[in-house]
Symmetry: C3
Subunit: 138 residues, 3 copies
Amino acid sequence: MAYQESITLATHGRGTRDINGEVARIVASSGIETGICHLFLHHTSASLILCENADPSVRSDLETILRRLAPDADPSYSHTLEGPDDMSAHVRSILTQVELSIPVSRGRLALGTWQGIFLYEHRTHSHRRTVTATVIGQ
Amino acid sequence: MAYQESITLATHGRGTRDINGEVARIVASSGIETGICHLFLHHTSASLILCENADPSVRSDLETILRRLAPDADPSYSHTLEGPDDMSAHVRSILTQVELSIPVSRGRLALGTWQGIFLYEHRTHSHRRTVTATVIGQ
Amino acid sequence: MAYQESITLATHGRGTRDINGEVARIVASSGIETGICHLFLHHTSASLILCENADPSVRSDLETILRRLAPDADPSYSHTLEGPDDMSAHVRSILTQVELSIPVSRGRLALGTWQGIFLYEHRTHSHRRTVTATVIGQ
């Protein structure tokens, strides 16, 4: 059995947005008891991450490290036409990934106690981002 | 068809542990001949990686690079309450990922010759880590 | 339903190769309308990435950043027997991943407008790389 649904989410500049509620609702709609829920972001300058969800400073420290690994406006970039945050956003997206799967057990997302699913916007301006969830199992 | 099983594994401080045997056993139990085996770690300060499994120095050099990319006790961290290795562990977990899928062919994991599956503990103390394997296919 | 096919692709030293065409053909062969297409690279010194596919300078800038994060011939490496680009290739492979899944909708890969699937060779010499695609769904 495969159930698929796409959602579009607004982001408000660089930062994370918790999407557990949206994903949990899709898993419930699927009627699938045992399987996986695959999430796919249809963009190359944002990510989907699993991150500690209790202390927001974990996400701000993560941001600090990503800025260091893939700086905005790095003098080495040749892809600069779309702004100082575009090439860095592509690198951040590739290092942190745009797709992931989560087990579904007894009809629910089987996340760890401290695991949250976050849409991570890497561009400095607001965007609308589309995520497709595919729930597969029985 | 979907088969699911969770296992709990002890880690002994920062470092990798080969889990091929445990995963191969679950795939055999599933009875699935063609499909994928999805592995999911229910934690945010350890990882699941596919890494060269012949020379252990590959994993020690990887550790050297990860320490550089996400240093312990970085002066920029504000999430410091859980120890100098906690925030670095979260970043390492996000850069290296906590979930992955491997093809199942003729009832077995279809890994490359030099590919090993490793549970990578990023905390400096020992932990118990839970992995859920979901085998989907026919 | 699960459909599986492996393909072997030539690479010509470090760099990316667009494999959308090969993957689209496999999805069409599968006959699956709704589900996911899982891609798995059976190697530890190359990657599969989703990257902006319009401007090739995005990929050359990505290369610049990866060279910085995982340098060739880093003096700290102890795994040096297979050449100055081997240990860096293993790190690059782990940071960028060797497997990914893409939704299949109405019998086709549901990629974003600017998303391309690339095989990324991290070794400086040419290789033959095997990718297994598993399409699961209905």
